[in-house]
């Protein structure tokens, strides 16, 4: 189906199902209940899930397939965001041209950075990409202020030209990003009993684009081009003695993943039309590395899972404060309650990084293939149990 093998097609269907029903899946708790704070089904976070999913899928095409670890991918994300906001300022508030421009500009940017950085491999490549990204960050923060808005970031203003749209709305406000009139922030709320589910236009646009990106990534993984990229990771010596030039292959992979990052950046700006230099900082580049490794580098679904997990931690886990902990452990005797809360407190709320770090360490040590490998191990264990049950009735062979 769609040029995919059965297994890949099933995976695509799962991803489509998950993104389509995300407003339900992420809101399992009734709105008024104590557990409602664990609901992740609000537009802002759902958008972030899929946008960072796109970012990680693209990063995985470079890192997962070729093994080239870029430490500067946030630069492309930032460039994408700036391009999109400029499009909103100059052309119109339609997100489509903004997204297209952000992909093109970040692709060109990736071509230049990749051309230089890919002269080296291994740690030197990583350092070169890091240096480029930090340079971009520093430029955006200071020298390029007329283009990037410097410290305050690039924002829309009432006197922007917007040649194909209105500079301001009838009521004198800055218009909001929309897709042919469909505002990105518009939502439809559905109440079922105590539950409230929010369906947001921006989320569904981003989700649609993520599904398309995911489909494209599967095609790349299964193509001769994808096989060549894996060959580069495996043995560059044999690669060149087989008559293949590794450079254009790695550069193509680098540009493709840069365009994915730019797409994510453009979408980010489409949901919330501003762009700041901090989007290009090295911590943002490091984040996508963590997402990919946590989920499983080189696997198809891994990066999406990793992105979801990290964004969930960042937004939900970080909300647990000491008051909530005291509520939870209120049933314990006073002294013990305080003790338990003191013990747990550093790992939640502002300390969510600590928990994430521990999870990351455990994954890298015990599941080098990431969460996907964990899932496979569990599935294999279940299968073994099942077959044991099935065979226990049969006569056992003499051993």
């Amino acid at each position: 189906m769609l040029g995919l093998e059965k297994k890949d097609f099933r995976l695509l269907l799962i991803v489509i199902g998950l993104t389509l029903f995300a407003p339900f899946i992420l809101n399992p708790f009734p709105a008024g209940s104590e557990l409602a704070q664990f609901n992740a089904g609000y537009p802002d976070l759902m958008q972030r899930f899929v946008i960072f999913g796109i970012f990680a899928i693209g990063f995985n095409i470079l890192f997962g397939l070729t093994g080239y670890l870029s430490f500067g991918h946030a630069a492309f994300l930032g460039v994408g965001s700036y391009s999109a906001v400029w499009m909103f300022k100059l052309l119109s508030m339609n997100v489509l041209p903004a997204i297209i421009l952000s992909v093109i500009i970040s692709g060109l940017f990736a071509l230049v950075i990749g051309f230089v950085s890919l002269r080296r491999s291994g740690i030197y490549f990583s350092i070169l990409t890091l240096a480029f990204a930090q340079m971009s960050f520093a430029l955006a923060y200071s020298v390029l202020t007329p283009i990037t808005g410097g410290e305050t970031g690039l924002q829309l203003a009432l006197d922007d030209p917007r040649v194909l749209g209105a500079a301001q709305t009838a009521s004198g406000n800055i218009p909001v990003p929309a897709l042919f009139g469909l505002e990105m922030r518009s939502s439809y709320e559905m109440s079922v009993g105590a539950w409230t589910f929010t369906f947001n236009a921006g989320y569904y646009l981003a989700a649609l684009i993520m599904v398309l990106s995911f489909y494209l990534a599967i095609r790349i993984f299964r193509s001769p081009f994808g096989m060549m990229l894996r060959a580069i990771k495996s043995n560059q010596t044999r690669m060149s003695y087989t008559g293949l030039n590794a450079r254009p292959y790695t550069l193509a992979a680098f540009v493709i993943s840069g365009m994915y990052a730019g797409l994510a950046g453009g979408l980010m700006a489409s949901m919330d039309p501003l762009a700041g230099a901090e989007r290009m900082q090295w911590t943002a580049s490091g984040e996508v590395v963590l997402m990919t490794i946590l989920g499983g580098a080189g696997t198809l679904i891994g990066p999406v899972l990793g992105a979801g997990m990290i964004k969930y931690f960042e937004n939900i886990f970080s909300k647990i404060n000491s008051q909530i902990l005291h509520d939870w452990f209120g049933f314990l005797p006073d002294g013990l309650e305080d003790f338990v809360v003191t013990l747990i407190y550093p790992f939640v709320g502002k300390g969510w990084h600590l928990t994430l770090g521990i999870v990351f360490m455990l994954v890298v040590i015990f599941l080098p293939g990431g969460l996907v490998q964990g899932g496979q191990k569990i599935a294999a264990a279940f299968r073994r149990k099942k077959s044991e049950k099935a065979s226990s009735g049969a006569t056992k062979p003499a051993e």
Binding site: R219, P224, S234, Y241, T242, G243
Partner: protein, 252 residues
């Protein structure tokens, strides 16, 4: 005029003259062995031929074109394939993928962007890969990830990867180094088979005199970076100069 013509090659590493005025001519459709004691410059010569090293002076002509200054992948595209001392294969990929890659390289050249088509839809490439795997008796291992293959199988796979490109010249760098007796015999038989079946021109660097004398049709003896003699195997065996060079090294 041979298919490979090496003329007046010099290569220095600092104070060491690795190759001094090397001339070599490999005739089409022969197995040409290059032997010599350790440090004779055999590997340096091979690295010059495949574009890994650039000599200080001299010329290397292959099939009427100069090889010098070209990158390894360009030289491969001219028709020179190389088998390494320790098999260089794509160890994270399956056996089948390993042989498909040279098929793609042969058909599409050094780079071609087919990012959307599926590998599985490439029927011609698959048939070609299956054929060569059947030839080296590895078809039943097609879905094995190659890092788990035995050393002998890795060698056969590497050979298959080179052969599927139908090279005009196959360079072999000590193909039996570190092998057990039985594996060595197998490799010799495999090479003989390739020779009779496909008539491929080969240049082979080897330490094992048993291998050399059972395969070679012409032998060049290198010592201290210079060719001593070049002749047919029968004349090399008792040659006084060769004895001198090898004194204490091996029974010639």
């Amino acid at each position: 005029m041979g298919i490979l013509e090496v003329k007046g090659i010099n290569k220095r590493f600092g104070g060491l003259q690795a190759l001094g005025d090397v001339n070599l001519s490999v005739e089409e459709n022969t197995v040409h062995a290059i032997i010599g004691p350790n440090g004779a410059g055999k590997s340096t010569l091979l690295n010059v031929l495949v574009g890994k090293l650039i000599p200080d002076s001299g010329s290397v002509m292959f099939d009427g074109q100069s090889v010098l200054g070209r990158k390894p992948h360009e030289i491969n595209q001219m028709g020179i394939s190389r088998v390494f001392q320790t098999p260089e294969i794509f160890s994270d990929l399956t056996v089948f993928e390993n042989v498909m890659i040279p098929c793609f390289a042969k058909r599409d050249g050094a780079f071609r962007m087919h990012a959307i088509s599926s590998v599985m839809s490439e029927k011609g490439i698959r048939a070609q890969a299956e054929e060569i795997l059947a030839d080296v008796n590895m078809l039943e291992k097609r879905d094995v990830v190659t890092s788990s293959l035995s050393r002998g199988d890795k060698r056969r796979l590497e050979m298959a990867m080179c052969l599927v490109q139908d090279p005009k010249l196959l360079l072999l760098d000590e193909p039996t180094a570190g092998m057990a007796r039985a594996d060595t015999e197998n490799t010799i038989n495999l090479l003989k088979e390739i020779r009779t079946k496909r008539g491929i021109t080969m240049a082979i660097i080897e330490h094992d005199m048993n291998v050399v004398f059972s395969l070679a049709e012409r032998i060049t003896v290198l010592a201290q970076g210079t060719p001593l003699v070049e002749d047919i195997p029968e004349n090399i065996k008792g040659h006084p100069k060769v004895r001198e060079a090898y004194l204490g090294e091996a029974q010639v």
